[in-house]
Structures are given as structure tokens and as C-alpha cells.
Symmetry: C2
DNA sequence: TTACATGTTGCAAGTGAGTTGCAACTATCA
DNA sequence: TGATAGTTGCAACTCACTTGCAACATGTAA
């Protein structure tokens, strides 16, 4: 991973700066970790990746930055069915919401976009007169491989 | 609340007994608390209600009983958007799944059943070859009252 | 450039939800 | 009624996350 200071600022960084928030060395690093993540990361994984760029960064700063991103609706917080412990996972909020499926046997996480999901959210907003800010659909069960397995 | 020992066993108790599980005094009490709950309760609220029937019951027994019920698919565990702290809430699994909406302003929790939700789960099972065991759709936002309020 | 005000950081300590080890107990069944 | 295996309560523990605070860094405006 290139040093974030020499990089073109990512979308998260640009978004926070446009909202008048201070951009510190630590924030730039944490934002770049979240931005370039290939899977869903928990707070301690984010800290470990951030430490490769600055071993001084404290886990408190990771938690505070994640709270900042949550408050600004820039990341989503996931349970992923709490398959291992009570920790939470984070991902940059995508253009279009998706569903998370967690296999209770092998632990694999699958994502799925669906028109029906978009329509369902529309129905909630209309029928319940409820303005949706954040939505989370998580499903636990058995994936294709595990479904057709003994025991 | 009447003493659970003198009651007709509730559905939770009958279900656990039919699966060959031992029915202790403590379990009967905790099951009756969950069964007769009017709202979503967290573990410490369940303990407080159980204490009215037996002040000796330990919170460990509440957690162990909730885990038992979860493993048997008899209760659902909810985040309710973690509006206050990291605790979880519990409710007896209903015949038909429903959606939970949490107002980020007043904290009100609303439930909603939807055909689209049922169809969406069907689509997931078919299109993703994923056998659903448990599903959780939680939405955060602003309820009808709060939506049309200043500040 | 520099000084300033205010926001941010790291450290240490704390909180709160949930779990574990284990000896004493008890539901179930022969 | 006694044997057996599952369950309980207690104490201690783990883990995720938060808070208080003094030192520090950022953005802004001289
Ligand atoms: Mn959670
Ligand atoms: Mn409910
Ligand atoms: Zn699987
Ligand atoms: Zn409201």
C-alpha cells in the first residue's frame, strides 16, 4: 500500500474534508485502510493494517474515526451474524445497498444486490412514513457448498 | 405474572421439553418471561423480571438459557441499531418474520411485516443457493412524528 | 510566516456485555 | 430411591469499546 500522504486523496478523505473536518496523518491512514479493504474488517484488523503505516496509531483513534465515519454515513457497521465474538465489521457505504449472507458452517460471507430489496425499502418509507437513514439485512444459513454436505 | 409452575406450560417450554431438554425451575421462569414479554427485552431486563419470581436466579443462567433458545431457533436476537450501548434484544421467533425500524431521534421501535420481504428471502434462497436459517432486517431513520419536527 | 484557538491524539483507566471453570445441586429415569 | 448426566450459582475472566485528560497538531487569520 502506498503512503497515503503522497496519494490522491480517496473519496472518504475528500468527503470528510468537504465537510470541514480536520485531516490528520492518523485519519488519512485509517481512511485509506477502510477505503482499500478487500473484505469486511473489524476494528482490530483495521488497527493492524494502520500500524504498518504508523505503528504509533492507537486503537482509540481507530474507534473514534469509525464513529466519525458512521455519524457521517460514510461507512456501514455489520454484525455478520456475530459468527465469532461480539465484534462489528465495517465497509465503505456502497452506492447501492446490499444484503449480507453468512454461512453458519464455513463462515463465508456473500453479498447480494436485489431489486426486491430496493422496492422493500421504498415500501417501508411510504407505508410506514419512516425516513430510512441506514438499513441492514443480514441472513444466516448454509451456503451452496455446505448445504449439500454430510453432518 | 402468575407463578409459571402452576401455569399451563407455554409454547417455549413445550418445545424444549419435546426436544428432550430438562425443565428446571429457573428455565421455566426465564421462558415465561420471554414468552409473555410485551416488548423486546435485553438480558438484564429479562433477569430483572425473572428476579421477581426467584431472586436467586443468576444472570449467567439467563445468558445460558438465551443461548439455548437461540441454538434451537426459538428466539431471535436483535441489535435494534445499538441505539443505547452494545447490548442485544430478544423476542420469541414469530410465525412470520418481521422488519424492525428504530427511530434515531425518539428511539421508538416499530415492526412491519411485508410480502416483499418474504419474496426477497425466497429470491435469496433460489438465486444464491443459500438455505436461510435466520434473517434480520433492521432499519434506522426517522419515524413519522420525528420526521416532521424542527432541529 | 507565525501565533492562536480549537479539534485531535495517545495513554491509562474504566465500563458493560457476555463467557468460562468448577464444585454443588437437581431433573430424569430405571 | 439411587445413579447419572445435565444444570446452576459463584467468582473470575475476556473482549469490545469508551472516557478523562494533558500534550499535540491542524486550519485560519493576522
Ligand atoms: Mn451487534
Ligand atoms: Mn420484533
Ligand atoms: Zn458454507
Ligand atoms: Zn421518532
Amino acid at each position: 500500500m502506498p503512503l497515503p500522504e503522497t496519494e490522491v486523496p480517496g473519496r472518504l478523505q475528500a468527503e470528510l474534508m468537504s465537510r470541514g473536518l480536520r485531516m490528520t496523518r492518523q485519519r488519512r491512514i485509517i481512511l485509506s485502510v477502510v477505503e482499500t479493504a478487500k473484505q469486511h474488517l473489524d476494528a482490530s484488523q483495521i488497527l493492524r493494517k494502520a500500524h504498518k503505516l504508523d505503528p504509533q496509531i492507537d486503537r482509540v483513534t481507530v474507534y473514534r474515526t469509525l464513529n466519525l465515519l458512521k455519524r457521517h454515513g460514510l461507512v456501514d457497521e455489520l454484525d455478520l451474524m456475530h459468527l465469532q465474538g461480539e465484534k462489528h465489521y465495517y465497509e465503505r457505504r456502497p452506492q447501492r445497498d446490499h444484503i449480507h449472507m453468512a454461512c453458519l458452517r464455513c463462515g463465508k460471507i456473500t453479498e447480494f444486490e436485489s431489486d426486491l430489496f430496493d422496492r422493500l425499502k421504498g415500501q417501508i418509507q411510504r407505508d410506514c412514513r419512516f425516513h430510512i437513514v441506514v438499513s441492514r439485512l443480514e441472513v444466516g444459513g448454509y451456503c451452496g457448498q455446505c448445504r449439500s454436505l454430510p453432518s
